[in-house]
Subunit: 269 residues, 4 copies
């Protein structure tokens, strides 16, 4: 299967404004790239790419005063299979976890593991470890939160989402991640493209999506508490501890988002 993905964003700044853009397809999909997602801007400005500490490819630029358009389009090969399900995947004891997964047990900006640990153990302590426990967390979060785009806000933490009951996809991910970490299961945040392949078309305008991965039985597995069903065609852009690490754009000055278009479609015929 081939998937076409892309974005076309317009920002407006009143003065030259540095930006970090985390919009490149993740390097671990390099072997699947048919048409590369070469970022371009209008007006053209110098772009500097670098890898952050989590292995994501980021881009730095200075937006000029006025408007700047940032866009790219790619075609990516995909297995066409839904997210793997491995109901017998085991939770590793903490002492068996690889070193590099340990950072995904710690608290982070939007994941207050220290504040939700008591609830996590009270609610999920009796569920067998491994896949079932993660699925129990995801079922809980899926039911407890109600998707509400107008109520989105950038400062909302996992605890806020838990208490407010309203969420967008990043909040579903944050709350799930926080509960998993509290239960000693490494969990990390993902952003990327997720189209409607194999499911009814979502009438809302397309957006980037967020989900998460947990480390079970020696590898990372994808979970998505918003949709709570395996999906086809996720294209990861970036992974991190939470949304703070992988904001689409971090902009160091006042700015307005003037246009926001994202697309993800199967290439047919």
């Amino acid at each position: 299967m081939q998937i076409r993905v892309g974005y076309d964003l317009i920002y407006e700044c009143c003065q030259p404004t540095p930006m970090i853009v985390t919009l490149n397809i993740h390097p671990d999909r390099a072997g699947d790239i048919i048409v590369p997602d070469t970022m371009s801007t209008d007006p053209q400005v110098p772009l500097t790419h670098y890898m952050d500490g989590y292995g994501n490819k980021c881009t730095r630029l200075v937006a000029p005063a006025g408007q700047i358009r940032i866009g790219a389009e790619a075609v990516v090969r995909d297995s066409g299979f839904p997210d793997p399900v491995a109901e017998d995947a085991q939770q590793l004891a903490v002492e068996e976890l690889p070193h590099e997964t340990l950072v995904y047990l710690l608290g982070s900006r939007y994941c207050e593991t220290d504040r939700l640990a008591g609830f996590a153990w009270a609610k999920f302590g009796d569920v067998a470890g491994g896949w079932q426990r993660v699925q129990a967390v995801v079922d809980f979060v899926h039911d407890h939160l109600r998707f509400s785009y107008p109520d989105a806000r950038p400062t909302r933490t996992a605890l806020d989402a838990f208490t407010e009951g309203k969420a967008v996809c990043r909040d579903f991910a944050h709350l799930s991640i926080t509960l998993c970490r509290a239960l000693n299961i490494p969990a990390r945040y993902c952003t990327g493209y997720l189209g409607d392949i194999g499911v009814p078309r979502d009438p809302a305008p397309m957006d980037f999506s967020a989900w998460f991965e947990v480390f079970l039985g020696g590898r990372w597995y994808t979970f998505d508490a918003r949709h709570n069903t395996p999906r086809i065609g996720r294209i990861v852009i970036a992974r991190g501890r939470d949304a703070s690490d992988v904001a689409i754009t971090s902009t160091f000055g006042p700015h307005q988002l003037r246009q926001f278009k994202v697309w993800t479609d199967e290439v047919v015929g």
Copy 2:
């Protein structure tokens, strides 16, 4: 100058309990080690060392049921000079910052940059960038917070410290870091040894200390909002985004701290 540092800790667990210990002297002091801080435990258990994503040397072990004593002592060569002061150090524009410093502009568990940015700009926006602005932040934090050991708590964030007015050294660091980041100055958290060399002896029992570093004019500088004066003989153990990254010990199960001794003294002739 030579400084003797060490610790002697006793934990008690009711069952075998995995721990991550971040107590080794930072690798960048390797050239200064006269007597190495070889960690030992009683009872003896296997120790595994690894480097985390921030360049700190961490140790993993499984504490057995019952008590475990963890200790080390080292002698370290030190310049004997107080923390450098560089009043003309400039704030780099965001676009000039090295890639690896950018992560220290982002929010983290105890540093809610998104929630204190408005205050930071209202309060410090008019102060000239660079050393003076950092010093203005540190002066503010030093005056605004009152040191109170009995009021310490592990969940306190920078915003909590700001509103409660009570703090221990980690809170002084967190609030300062948060304000600096909000002002686009990379700032990172440090833990380590800090004795009373050159200052009156603190009558309280010795403890590890926390301070922070900012990136100005192309290098990292040490600041300490609790003491707010250059000090002699800091020995860094670990650096990270905040205390969440560099906890002395992360213990994955119920436990009690039974003994806590830390020492830092000049080796006298």
Copy 3:
């Protein structure tokens, strides 16, 4: 001057749902009523009026399953004068305050006086007490917060508004109230009608408004940190410690607001 005020609201509930409605013009305006604001509903349901502990006239009803329309219209006589300004009004010492004002020094749901007291004294401690100090608070709040209707949310506290920088009229009031109370000035929350008499027409749809009152020199004075200018024609509906006490409607079950119309206009000719 005569002012016509009214509202026309439609709620939809899926089952019979008890409501408390705080929409009647405040009893202290009884002498100014030309046409009374007799509440009616469609379908007609029994209405029970009562006075709450703050002296407001509230109404209880049970909304049937389906839609219910709640409305009223009144004509009220008004002085036509803007909010009084008394620059020499003094702050009373706490021991001189009347008993009944003391409750307006305490913390409440959306006014965390205990968490903002440190900031309040650091920022306003040097300003002379009385009118000037309140005006300094109001100037600060007016400048620090940015009005943003889409970012409104019911759980936002004064501290949240302070850190987020976004606000609707209730947040402007809550933050001002919190700072005044922390400075030992009794402050209470007001809801009511506020038209555009004497000022340019606001193009946004009309809404109820919120402002606050402080107790200085033996009486209550009106302040409005959102507009920060004396206004003509405020018609108070209710006063309380904060928005928690005087919600337009408190609805004890799931419901949707289907229509929301409010009007406030000078009766011309």
Copy 4:
């Protein structure tokens, strides 16, 4: 049964400092007073008594610079019966609640009903209304929180207690109250004397205690989530929406508490 209660407090202020003291036995016990709790101070200062909006008897004074001792002792007649248990007490529908109970459904400073409502309904929505539901709340709170005097802090809300898991008696009350209100059961906070009559002596120094009352079946019932067992000899001092309303002392200036003695004992023979 007769119970002797009293207190002996010493405060130190650096300047004359107004105080509100809420330490008088509640007026609804007036008929049980054998020896009245006449408040006295040393040095003697004028005392003004008043009733607050919740029906509590409060006292105002101005503490002079230096130390002030405030004390009283009373003997009170008591039924000697433990707190009533009424397992068939029904939850009234909101529309059947007396007007004056409605304020105890609303949020308050330390009881964020809006933030814990989702959890409350998810956890207790299936439990039959009335006594059983309140008991389910109290059982949950009793088990979820761990009493810890050293971790007490005045800014801790019900949500904080829920997430931190540590509590003193006021936190047990606040969390229970918040959950009950979220479930549409009026709940109010109580402070008072509670000795060890009929239970093993608590070795900790005596203190005032906090508990709460709920309105079921037309009357108020006492619950105590810290002890979670009916107790003999509660003497109410004050009731309010939460601890913000009924602080033992509200002191309007810097001060130190130098001595704190409270006693509650059965008068024997």
